[in-house]
Symmetry: C2
Amino acid sequence: MSLPTNEYIPHISYDSVIFGFSGEKLKILILEYHNMKTYALPGGFVKMDEPLDDAVKRGLSERTGLDKIYLEQFHTFGSMQRFKPEIMRRILEEQGHQVEDHWMLGRFITVGYYALINYESVIPTPDALSDSIDWYDYDQLPELMMDHRELVEKALEHLRIHLDHKLLSFNLLPDKFTMKELQQVYEAILGEELNRANFQRKMLSLGILQRHDKLYTGGSHKAPYLYSFKKN
Amino acid sequence: MSLPTNEYIPHISYDSVIFGFSGEKLKILILEYHNMKTYALPGGFVKMDEPLDDAVKRGLSERTGLDKIYLEQFHTFGSMQRFKPEIMRRILEEQGHQVEDHWMLGRFITVGYYALINYESVIPTPDALSDSIDWYDYDQLPELMMDHRELVEKALEHLRIHLDHKLLSFNLLPDKFTMKELQQVYEAILGEELNRANFQRKMLSLGILQRHDKLYTGGSHKAPYLYSFKKN
DNA sequence: TCAAAAGTGTTCCCTGTACACCCATGG
DNA sequence: CCATGGGTGTACAGGGAACACTTTTGA
Protein backbone atom coordinates (compact mmCIF):
# COMPACT_ATOMS: atom_id res chain seq x y z
CA MET A 1 0.00 0.00 0.00
CA SER A 2 1.27 3.44 -0.80
CA LEU A 3 0.81 6.88 0.61
CA PRO A 4 -0.88 9.71 -1.23
CA THR A 5 1.63 11.58 -3.36
CA ASN A 6 1.62 15.20 -4.41
CA GLU A 7 -0.85 14.60 -7.16
CA TYR A 8 -3.09 15.88 -4.37
CA ILE A 9 -3.90 19.49 -3.55
CA PRO A 10 -1.80 20.51 -0.55
CA HIS A 11 -3.36 22.06 2.58
CA ILE A 12 -6.86 20.78 1.78
CA SER A 13 -8.42 17.65 3.22
CA TYR A 14 -11.83 16.27 3.96
CA ASP A 15 -13.04 14.30 6.96
CA SER A 16 -16.20 12.25 7.09
CA VAL A 17 -18.53 11.41 9.95
CA ILE A 18 -20.10 8.13 8.82
CA PHE A 19 -23.27 7.32 10.72
CA GLY A 20 -24.80 3.87 11.03
CA PHE A 21 -27.54 2.41 13.20
CA SER A 22 -27.67 -0.93 14.97
CA GLY A 23 -28.99 -2.32 18.19
CA GLU A 24 -30.93 0.85 18.97
CA LYS A 25 -27.68 2.82 18.89
CA LEU A 26 -26.28 5.48 16.63
CA LYS A 27 -22.81 4.45 15.51
CA ILE A 28 -19.86 6.16 13.85
CA LEU A 29 -16.97 4.70 11.83
CA ILE A 30 -13.65 5.48 13.54
CA LEU A 31 -10.20 4.43 12.41
CA GLU A 32 -7.12 3.74 14.51
CA TYR A 33 -3.57 4.38 13.34
CA HIS A 34 -1.00 1.59 13.50
CA ASN A 35 0.23 0.99 17.05
CA MET A 36 -0.62 4.53 17.93
CA LYS A 37 -3.74 4.34 20.06
CA THR A 38 -4.71 7.39 18.05
CA TYR A 39 -8.28 7.52 16.80
CA ALA A 40 -9.55 9.64 13.96
CA LEU A 41 -12.36 10.16 11.50
CA PRO A 42 -11.85 8.69 8.03
CA GLY A 43 -10.58 11.41 5.76
CA GLY A 44 -8.57 12.01 2.66
CA PHE A 45 -7.30 14.41 0.05
CA VAL A 46 -8.45 15.88 -3.22
CA LYS A 47 -6.64 15.20 -6.49
CA MET A 48 -5.47 18.18 -8.49
CA ASP A 49 -8.21 17.87 -11.11
CA GLU A 50 -10.87 16.10 -9.08
CA PRO A 51 -14.16 17.63 -7.90
CA LEU A 52 -14.31 17.87 -4.12
CA ASP A 53 -17.51 15.83 -3.87
CA ASP A 54 -16.02 13.07 -6.01
CA ALA A 55 -12.97 12.87 -3.78
CA VAL A 56 -15.16 12.30 -0.75
CA LYS A 57 -17.26 9.68 -2.54
CA ARG A 58 -14.08 7.91 -3.64
CA GLY A 59 -12.74 7.79 -0.09
CA LEU A 60 -16.01 6.57 1.33
CA SER A 61 -16.36 3.82 -1.24
CA GLU A 62 -12.89 2.58 -0.39
CA ARG A 63 -13.64 2.58 3.32
CA THR A 64 -17.12 1.08 3.23
CA GLY A 65 -17.37 -0.89 -0.01
CA LEU A 66 -20.56 1.02 -0.76
CA ASP A 67 -21.30 2.84 -3.94
CA LYS A 68 -24.29 5.13 -3.61
CA ILE A 69 -23.95 6.86 -0.29
CA TYR A 70 -26.05 9.63 1.16
CA LEU A 71 -23.55 12.41 1.69
CA GLU A 72 -23.87 15.95 2.98
CA GLN A 73 -21.29 18.66 3.52
CA PHE A 74 -21.74 20.43 6.85
CA HIS A 75 -18.83 22.76 7.61
CA THR A 76 -15.26 23.67 6.73
CA PHE A 77 -12.74 23.92 9.54
CA GLY A 78 -9.78 26.24 9.19
CA SER A 79 -8.52 27.20 12.64
CA MET A 80 -4.85 27.00 13.56
CA GLN A 81 -5.64 24.83 16.58
CA ARG A 82 -6.04 21.97 14.17
CA PHE A 83 -2.40 22.27 13.02
CA LYS A 84 -0.57 19.53 14.94
CA PRO A 85 2.31 18.38 12.74
CA GLU A 86 3.86 16.21 15.48
CA ILE A 87 0.96 13.80 15.40
CA MET A 88 1.10 13.33 11.65
CA ARG A 89 4.88 13.04 11.84
CA ARG A 90 4.62 10.17 14.32
CA ILE A 91 2.03 8.44 12.19
CA LEU A 92 4.20 8.67 9.11
CA GLU A 93 7.38 7.62 10.93
CA GLU A 94 5.62 4.62 12.40
CA GLN A 95 5.02 3.53 8.83
CA GLY A 96 8.66 4.04 7.91
CA HIS A 97 8.09 6.94 5.59
CA GLN A 98 10.48 9.73 4.75
CA VAL A 99 8.99 12.65 6.64
CA GLU A 100 11.20 15.68 6.10
CA ASP A 101 9.14 18.36 4.39
CA HIS A 102 6.41 15.85 3.68
CA TRP A 103 3.36 17.65 2.30
CA MET A 104 1.09 15.89 4.79
CA LEU A 105 2.86 17.76 7.61
CA GLY A 106 1.56 21.10 6.38
CA ARG A 107 -1.33 23.08 7.73
CA PHE A 108 -4.71 21.79 6.56
CA ILE A 109 -8.12 23.25 6.04
CA THR A 110 -10.60 20.39 6.15
CA VAL A 111 -14.09 20.10 4.70
CA GLY A 112 -16.45 18.12 6.92
CA TYR A 113 -18.99 15.71 5.44
CA TYR A 114 -21.39 13.31 7.03
CA ALA A 115 -22.76 10.12 5.53
CA LEU A 116 -25.73 7.95 6.41
CA ILE A 117 -25.37 4.29 5.56
CA ASN A 118 -26.97 0.97 6.24
CA TYR A 119 -24.95 -0.67 8.98
CA GLU A 120 -25.39 -4.19 7.73
CA SER A 121 -24.26 -3.60 4.18
CA VAL A 122 -20.87 -2.14 5.11
CA ILE A 123 -17.50 -3.89 5.02
CA PRO A 124 -15.19 -1.47 6.85
CA THR A 125 -11.76 -1.44 5.18
CA PRO A 126 -8.66 0.26 6.61
CA ASP A 127 -6.45 2.48 4.46
CA ALA A 128 -2.67 2.68 4.14
CA LEU A 129 -2.09 4.58 7.36
CA SER A 130 -4.56 2.87 9.64
CA ASP A 131 -4.71 -0.66 10.90
CA SER A 132 -8.34 -0.77 11.89
CA ILE A 133 -11.63 0.89 11.16
CA ASP A 134 -14.62 0.06 13.33
CA TRP A 135 -18.02 1.14 14.48
CA TYR A 136 -18.27 2.94 17.81
CA ASP A 137 -21.40 3.90 19.67
CA TYR A 138 -21.87 7.64 19.54
CA ASP A 139 -22.03 7.77 23.32
CA GLN A 140 -18.87 5.68 23.71
CA LEU A 141 -16.46 7.28 21.30
CA PRO A 142 -12.74 7.09 22.11
CA GLU A 143 -10.75 10.28 22.35
CA LEU A 144 -10.28 11.59 18.82
CA MET A 145 -7.27 13.40 17.38
CA MET A 146 -7.18 17.14 16.74
CA ASP A 147 -10.63 18.67 16.39
CA HIS A 148 -12.39 15.52 15.20
CA ARG A 149 -14.68 15.42 18.21
CA GLU A 150 -15.85 18.89 17.27
CA LEU A 151 -16.56 17.64 13.75
CA VAL A 152 -18.70 14.83 15.13
CA GLU A 153 -20.75 17.21 17.24
CA LYS A 154 -21.26 19.65 14.42
CA ALA A 155 -22.22 16.86 12.02
CA LEU A 156 -24.83 15.58 14.45
CA GLU A 157 -26.14 19.08 14.95
CA HIS A 158 -26.67 19.42 11.20
CA LEU A 159 -28.20 15.98 10.94
CA ARG A 160 -30.71 16.82 13.67
CA ILE A 161 -31.75 20.01 11.93
CA HIS A 162 -32.23 18.32 8.59
CA LEU A 163 -33.73 15.10 9.89
CA ASP A 164 -37.36 16.00 9.31
CA HIS A 165 -36.80 18.39 6.50
CA LYS A 166 -35.10 15.97 4.17
CA LEU A 167 -36.32 12.62 5.50
CA LEU A 168 -32.85 11.24 5.67
CA SER A 169 -33.38 8.51 8.15
CA PHE A 170 -34.17 5.78 5.68
CA ASN A 171 -30.52 5.76 4.62
CA LEU A 172 -29.73 4.19 7.97
CA LEU A 173 -32.18 1.33 7.63
CA PRO A 174 -32.54 -1.74 5.43
CA ASP A 175 -35.06 -1.64 2.59
CA LYS A 176 -37.87 -2.87 4.79
CA PHE A 177 -38.26 -1.95 8.42
CA THR A 178 -40.84 -1.66 11.17
CA MET A 179 -42.25 1.56 12.55
CA LYS A 180 -40.49 0.82 15.81
CA GLU A 181 -37.11 0.66 14.07
CA LEU A 182 -37.74 3.95 12.34
CA GLN A 183 -38.67 5.50 15.65
CA GLN A 184 -35.49 4.14 17.23
CA VAL A 185 -33.41 5.80 14.52
CA TYR A 186 -35.08 9.11 15.23
CA GLU A 187 -34.60 8.70 18.96
CA ALA A 188 -30.93 7.77 18.55
CA ILE A 189 -30.26 10.84 16.43
CA LEU A 190 -32.30 13.28 18.46
CA GLY A 191 -31.18 11.87 21.77
CA GLU A 192 -34.67 11.90 23.23
CA GLU A 193 -37.67 9.62 23.49
CA LEU A 194 -40.69 10.14 21.28
CA ASN A 195 -44.33 9.28 21.77
CA ARG A 196 -45.10 6.09 19.90
CA ALA A 197 -48.64 6.90 18.82
CA ASN A 198 -47.84 10.40 17.60
CA PHE A 199 -44.70 9.28 15.82
CA GLN A 200 -46.62 6.64 13.90
CA ARG A 201 -49.29 9.12 12.87
CA LYS A 202 -46.80 11.73 11.82
CA MET A 203 -44.76 9.38 9.67
CA LEU A 204 -47.85 7.93 7.99
CA SER A 205 -49.28 11.40 7.35
CA LEU A 206 -46.20 12.31 5.33
CA GLY A 207 -47.36 9.87 2.69
CA ILE A 208 -43.89 8.58 1.92
CA LEU A 209 -44.17 5.13 3.50
CA GLN A 210 -45.27 2.03 1.66
CA ARG A 211 -46.89 -0.57 3.86
CA HIS A 212 -46.06 -4.25 3.26
CA ASP A 213 -46.98 -7.57 4.83
CA LYS A 214 -46.73 -8.04 8.53
CA LEU A 215 -43.57 -9.33 10.11
CA TYR A 216 -44.03 -12.29 12.44
CA THR A 217 -41.09 -12.26 14.79
CA GLY A 218 -42.30 -15.01 17.09
CA GLY A 219 -42.77 -12.50 19.87
CA SER A 220 -45.89 -12.89 21.94
CA HIS A 221 -47.58 -9.79 20.68
CA LYS A 222 -49.22 -8.29 17.65
CA ALA A 223 -47.08 -8.56 14.53
CA PRO A 224 -45.91 -5.19 13.17
CA TYR A 225 -46.22 -4.09 9.55
CA LEU A 226 -43.13 -3.72 7.45
CA TYR A 227 -42.61 -0.43 5.64
CA SER A 228 -40.39 0.86 2.89
CA PHE A 229 -39.84 4.38 1.55
CA LYS A 230 -41.60 5.29 -1.66
CA LYS A 231 -39.09 6.17 -4.32
CA ASN A 232 -40.74 8.91 -6.29
CA MET B 1 -1.28 48.43 -4.66
CA SER B 2 0.14 44.95 -4.89
CA LEU B 3 -1.21 41.53 -5.64
CA PRO B 4 -1.35 38.73 -3.15
CA THR B 5 1.93 36.81 -3.13
CA ASN B 6 2.55 33.19 -2.30
CA GLU B 7 2.49 33.80 1.40
CA TYR B 8 -1.06 32.58 0.75
CA ILE B 9 -2.26 28.99 0.69
CA PRO B 10 -2.63 27.96 -2.95
CA HIS B 11 -5.87 26.45 -4.30
CA ILE B 12 -7.98 27.79 -1.42
CA SER B 13 -10.05 30.94 -1.51
CA TYR B 14 -13.10 32.39 0.14
CA ASP B 15 -15.95 34.38 -1.36
CA SER B 16 -18.41 36.49 0.57
CA VAL B 17 -22.03 37.38 -0.09
CA ILE B 18 -22.45 40.67 1.76
CA PHE B 19 -26.08 41.55 2.38
CA GLY B 20 -27.40 45.01 3.12
CA PHE B 21 -30.87 46.53 3.25
CA SER B 22 -32.08 49.88 1.98
CA GLY B 23 -35.17 51.29 0.36
CA GLU B 24 -37.19 48.15 1.07
CA LYS B 25 -34.69 46.15 -0.98
CA LEU B 26 -32.19 43.46 -0.16
CA LYS B 27 -28.81 44.43 -1.57
CA ILE B 28 -25.51 42.68 -2.23
CA LEU B 29 -21.98 44.08 -2.58
CA ILE B 30 -20.57 43.25 -6.04
CA LEU B 31 -17.19 44.24 -7.42
CA GLU B 32 -16.22 44.88 -11.03
CA TYR B 33 -12.78 44.17 -12.45
CA HIS B 34 -10.87 46.90 -14.28
CA ASN B 35 -12.23 47.50 -17.78
CA MET B 36 -13.54 43.98 -17.86
CA LYS B 37 -17.28 44.26 -17.45
CA THR B 38 -16.74 41.23 -15.25
CA TYR B 39 -18.64 41.16 -11.99
CA ALA B 40 -17.79 39.03 -8.98
CA LEU B 41 -18.33 38.54 -5.29
CA PRO B 42 -15.67 40.00 -2.99
CA GLY B 43 -13.27 37.23 -2.08
CA GLY B 44 -9.73 36.59 -1.03
CA PHE B 45 -7.11 34.15 0.13
CA VAL B 46 -5.86 32.68 3.38
CA LYS B 47 -2.36 33.31 4.67
CA MET B 48 -0.22 30.30 5.45
CA ASP B 49 -0.57 30.64 9.22
CA GLU B 50 -3.88 32.45 9.40
CA PRO B 51 -7.17 30.99 10.67
CA LEU B 52 -9.76 30.77 7.90
CA ASP B 53 -12.32 32.87 9.77
CA ASP B 54 -9.74 35.59 10.40
CA ALA B 55 -8.88 35.75 6.72
CA VAL B 56 -12.51 36.38 5.85
CA LYS B 57 -12.90 39.02 8.55
CA ARG B 58 -9.74 40.74 7.31
CA GLY B 59 -11.04 40.85 3.75
CA LEU B 60 -14.44 42.14 4.78
CA SER B 61 -12.98 44.88 6.94
CA GLU B 62 -10.86 46.07 4.04
CA ARG B 63 -13.86 46.09 1.71
CA THR B 64 -16.42 47.65 4.03
CA GLY B 65 -14.47 49.61 6.65
CA LEU B 66 -16.45 47.75 9.31
CA ASP B 67 -14.97 45.91 12.21
CA LYS B 68 -17.48 43.67 13.92
CA ILE B 69 -19.40 41.96 11.18
CA TYR B 70 -21.99 39.22 11.46
CA LEU B 71 -20.48 36.42 9.44
CA GLU B 72 -21.60 32.89 8.70
CA GLN B 73 -20.06 30.14 6.64
CA PHE B 74 -22.58 28.38 4.42
CA HIS B 75 -20.90 26.01 1.96
CA THR B 76 -17.63 25.03 0.32
CA PHE B 77 -17.55 24.78 -3.46
CA GLY B 78 -15.11 22.40 -5.11
CA SER B 79 -16.43 21.43 -8.52
CA MET B 80 -14.23 21.59 -11.61
CA GLN B 81 -16.76 23.78 -13.40
CA ARG B 82 -15.42 26.63 -11.34
CA PHE B 83 -11.93 26.27 -12.82
CA LYS B 84 -11.77 28.98 -15.51
CA PRO B 85 -8.13 30.08 -15.72
CA GLU B 86 -8.69 32.23 -18.85
CA ILE B 87 -10.81 34.69 -16.91
CA MET B 88 -8.26 35.15 -14.16
CA ARG B 89 -5.50 35.37 -16.77
CA ARG B 90 -7.25 38.27 -18.49
CA ILE B 91 -7.83 40.03 -15.21
CA LEU B 92 -4.17 39.76 -14.27
CA GLU B 93 -2.93 40.76 -17.73
CA GLU B 94 -5.19 43.79 -17.74
CA GLN B 95 -3.29 44.88 -14.63
CA GLY B 96 0.07 44.31 -16.30
CA HIS B 97 1.11 41.39 -14.12
CA GLN B 98 3.42 38.56 -15.00
CA VAL B 99 1.02 35.67 -15.48
CA GLU B 100 3.01 32.60 -16.49
CA ASP B 101 2.51 29.94 -13.84
CA HIS B 102 0.94 32.49 -11.54
CA TRP B 103 -0.51 30.75 -8.49
CA MET B 104 -3.82 32.54 -8.92
CA LEU B 105 -4.35 30.68 -12.18
CA GLY B 106 -4.59 27.34 -10.40
CA ARG B 107 -7.70 25.43 -9.54
CA PHE B 108 -9.48 26.78 -6.44
CA ILE B 109 -11.76 25.36 -3.82
CA THR B 110 -13.66 28.25 -2.30
CA VAL B 111 -15.35 28.59 1.06
CA GLY B 112 -18.57 30.62 0.91
CA TYR B 113 -19.50 33.06 3.67
CA TYR B 114 -22.33 35.50 3.99
CA ALA B 115 -22.33 38.71 6.00
CA LEU B 116 -25.15 40.95 7.25
CA ILE B 117 -24.27 44.59 7.64
CA ASN B 118 -25.87 47.94 8.15
CA TYR B 119 -26.12 49.56 4.74
CA GLU B 120 -25.58 53.10 5.96
CA SER B 121 -22.40 52.47 7.91
CA VAL B 122 -20.45 50.95 5.02
CA ILE B 123 -17.80 52.62 2.89
CA PRO B 124 -17.30 50.19 0.00
CA THR B 125 -13.61 50.09 -0.95
CA PRO B 126 -12.20 48.34 -4.05
CA ASP B 127 -9.17 46.08 -3.84
CA ALA B 128 -6.08 45.82 -6.05
CA LEU B 129 -7.77 43.91 -8.87
CA SER B 130 -11.11 45.67 -8.99
CA ASP B 131 -11.97 49.23 -9.88
CA SER B 132 -15.36 49.40 -8.27
CA ILE B 133 -17.42 47.79 -5.57
CA ASP B 134 -21.08 48.70 -5.26
CA TRP B 135 -24.45 47.68 -3.93
CA TYR B 136 -26.83 45.89 -6.29
CA ASP B 137 -30.43 44.98 -5.65
CA TYR B 138 -30.75 41.25 -5.21
CA ASP B 139 -33.35 41.13 -7.97
CA GLN B 140 -31.18 43.18 -10.35
CA LEU B 141 -27.80 41.54 -10.08
CA PRO B 142 -25.50 41.67 -13.11
CA GLU B 143 -24.18 38.44 -14.55
CA LEU B 144 -21.54 37.12 -12.18
CA MET B 145 -18.36 35.25 -13.06
CA MET B 146 -17.91 31.51 -12.57
CA ASP B 147 -20.33 30.02 -10.05
CA HIS B 148 -20.84 33.19 -8.04
CA ARG B 149 -24.53 33.36 -8.83
CA GLU B 150 -24.86 29.90 -7.34
CA LEU B 151 -23.09 31.14 -4.22
CA VAL B 152 -25.58 33.99 -3.89
CA GLU B 153 -28.54 31.64 -4.15
CA LYS B 154 -27.12 29.19 -1.65
CA ALA B 155 -26.25 31.99 0.76
CA LEU B 156 -29.79 33.33 0.61
CA GLU B 157 -31.16 29.84 1.11
CA HIS B 158 -29.12 29.48 4.31
CA LEU B 159 -30.06 32.94 5.47
CA ARG B 160 -33.76 32.15 5.06
CA ILE B 161 -33.47 28.96 7.06
CA HIS B 162 -31.61 30.64 9.90
CA LEU B 163 -33.53 33.89 9.87
CA ASP B 164 -35.91 33.04 12.69
CA HIS B 165 -33.67 30.62 14.45
CA LYS B 166 -30.84 33.02 15.10
CA LEU B 167 -32.60 36.40 14.87
CA LEU B 168 -30.07 37.72 12.46
CA SER B 169 -32.07 40.47 10.91
CA PHE B 170 -31.02 43.20 13.28
CA ASN B 171 -27.57 43.20 11.70
CA LEU B 172 -29.13 44.76 8.63
CA LEU B 173 -30.75 47.66 10.48
CA PRO B 174 -29.55 50.72 12.35
CA ASP B 175 -29.60 50.66 16.15
CA LYS B 176 -33.15 51.92 16.33
CA PHE B 177 -35.85 51.01 13.85
CA THR B 178 -39.61 50.74 13.48
CA MET B 179 -41.60 47.53 13.38
CA LYS B 180 -42.41 48.25 9.76
CA GLU B 181 -38.72 48.38 8.84
CA LEU B 182 -38.08 45.11 10.59
CA GLN B 183 -40.95 43.55 8.70
CA GLN B 184 -39.59 44.89 5.42
CA VAL B 185 -36.26 43.21 6.11
CA TYR B 186 -38.01 39.91 6.68
CA GLU B 187 -40.08 40.33 3.56
CA ALA B 188 -37.03 41.21 1.46
CA ILE B 189 -35.16 38.14 2.64
CA LEU B 190 -38.05 35.70 2.47
CA GLY B 191 -39.36 37.11 -0.77
CA GLU B 192 -42.96 37.11 0.43
CA GLU B 193 -45.39 39.41 2.19
CA LEU B 194 -46.20 38.93 5.84
CA ASN B 195 -49.27 39.83 7.85
CA ARG B 196 -48.60 43.05 9.74
CA ALA B 197 -50.54 42.27 12.90
CA ASN B 198 -49.17 38.77 13.30
CA PHE B 199 -45.63 39.85 12.57
CA GLN B 200 -45.81 42.48 15.28
CA ARG B 201 -47.13 40.03 17.83
CA LYS B 202 -44.59 37.39 16.98
CA MET B 203 -41.62 39.73 17.25
CA LEU B 204 -42.82 41.19 20.54
CA SER B 205 -43.48 37.74 21.98
CA LEU B 206 -39.84 36.80 21.47
CA GLY B 207 -38.96 39.23 24.23
CA ILE B 208 -35.85 40.53 22.51
CA LEU B 209 -37.08 43.95 21.48
CA GLN B 210 -36.67 47.06 23.58
CA ARG B 211 -39.35 49.69 22.97
CA HIS B 212 -38.28 53.35 22.86
CA ASP B 213 -40.01 56.69 22.28
CA LYS B 214 -42.28 57.15 19.34
CA LEU B 215 -40.94 58.44 16.07
CA TYR B 216 -42.80 61.45 14.64
CA THR B 217 -42.20 61.42 10.93
CA GLY B 218 -44.62 64.16 10.04
CA GLY B 219 -46.82 61.67 8.24
CA SER B 220 -50.52 62.06 8.72
CA HIS B 221 -50.95 58.95 10.81
CA LYS B 222 -50.14 57.45 14.17
CA ALA B 223 -46.46 57.72 15.07
CA PRO B 224 -44.70 54.32 15.31
CA TYR B 225 -42.58 53.21 18.24
CA LEU B 226 -38.86 52.81 17.79
CA TYR B 227 -37.28 49.53 18.83
CA SER B 228 -33.80 48.21 19.44
CA PHE B 229 -32.55 44.69 20.09
CA LYS B 230 -31.76 43.79 23.67
CA LYS B 231 -28.12 42.87 24.01
CA ASN B 232 -28.14 40.18 26.66
C1' DT C 1 -56.29 -15.88 29.92
C1' DC C 2 -52.39 -13.01 30.41
C1' DA C 3 -48.57 -9.92 29.20
C1' DA C 4 -46.45 -7.37 25.72
C1' DA C 5 -46.31 -4.71 21.83
C1' DA C 6 -48.89 -2.80 17.76
C1' DG C 7 -52.44 0.04 15.93
C1' DT C 8 -55.98 3.60 16.41
C1' DG C 9 -58.94 7.21 18.72
C1' DT C 10 -59.79 11.32 21.70
C1' DT C 11 -58.84 15.44 24.02
C1' DC C 12 -56.38 19.56 25.01
C1' DC C 13 -53.43 23.30 23.99
C1' DC C 14 -50.53 26.13 21.41
C1' DT C 15 -49.41 28.54 17.29
C1' DG C 16 -50.16 30.54 12.99
C1' DT C 17 -53.42 32.90 10.06
C1' DA C 18 -56.99 35.95 8.67
C1' DC C 19 -59.62 39.69 9.65
C1' DA C 20 -61.77 43.33 12.36
C1' DC C 21 -61.63 47.17 15.16
C1' DC C 22 -59.93 51.29 17.51
C1' DC C 23 -56.21 55.00 17.94
C1' DA C 24 -53.09 58.81 16.72
C1' DT C 25 -51.74 62.21 13.36
C1' DG C 26 -51.70 65.89 9.81
C1' DG C 27 -54.16 67.94 6.17
C1' DC D 1 -63.65 64.96 9.96
C1' DC D 2 -61.27 62.20 6.83
C1' DA D 3 -57.49 59.35 5.00
C1' DT D 4 -53.55 56.87 6.41
C1' DG D 5 -50.96 53.93 8.83
C1' DG D 6 -50.02 51.97 13.72
C1' DG D 7 -51.44 49.03 17.61
C1' DT D 8 -54.33 45.50 19.55
C1' DG D 9 -58.37 42.01 19.85
C1' DT D 10 -60.81 37.87 18.25
C1' DA D 11 -62.07 33.69 15.99
C1' DC D 12 -60.86 29.70 13.51
C1' DA D 13 -57.94 25.78 11.73
C1' DG D 14 -54.06 22.53 11.99
C1' DG D 15 -50.51 20.13 14.41
C1' DG D 16 -48.22 18.41 18.39
C1' DA D 17 -48.47 16.20 23.03
C1' DA D 18 -50.55 13.25 26.35
C1' DC D 19 -53.29 9.49 27.28
C1' DA D 20 -56.80 5.86 26.66
C1' DC D 21 -58.56 2.08 24.35
C1' DT D 22 -58.62 -1.95 21.29
C1' DT D 23 -56.22 -5.73 18.70
C1' DT D 24 -53.00 -9.35 17.86
C1' DT D 25 -49.73 -12.72 19.19
C1' DG D 26 -47.26 -16.63 21.75
C1' DA D 27 -46.77 -18.57 26.14
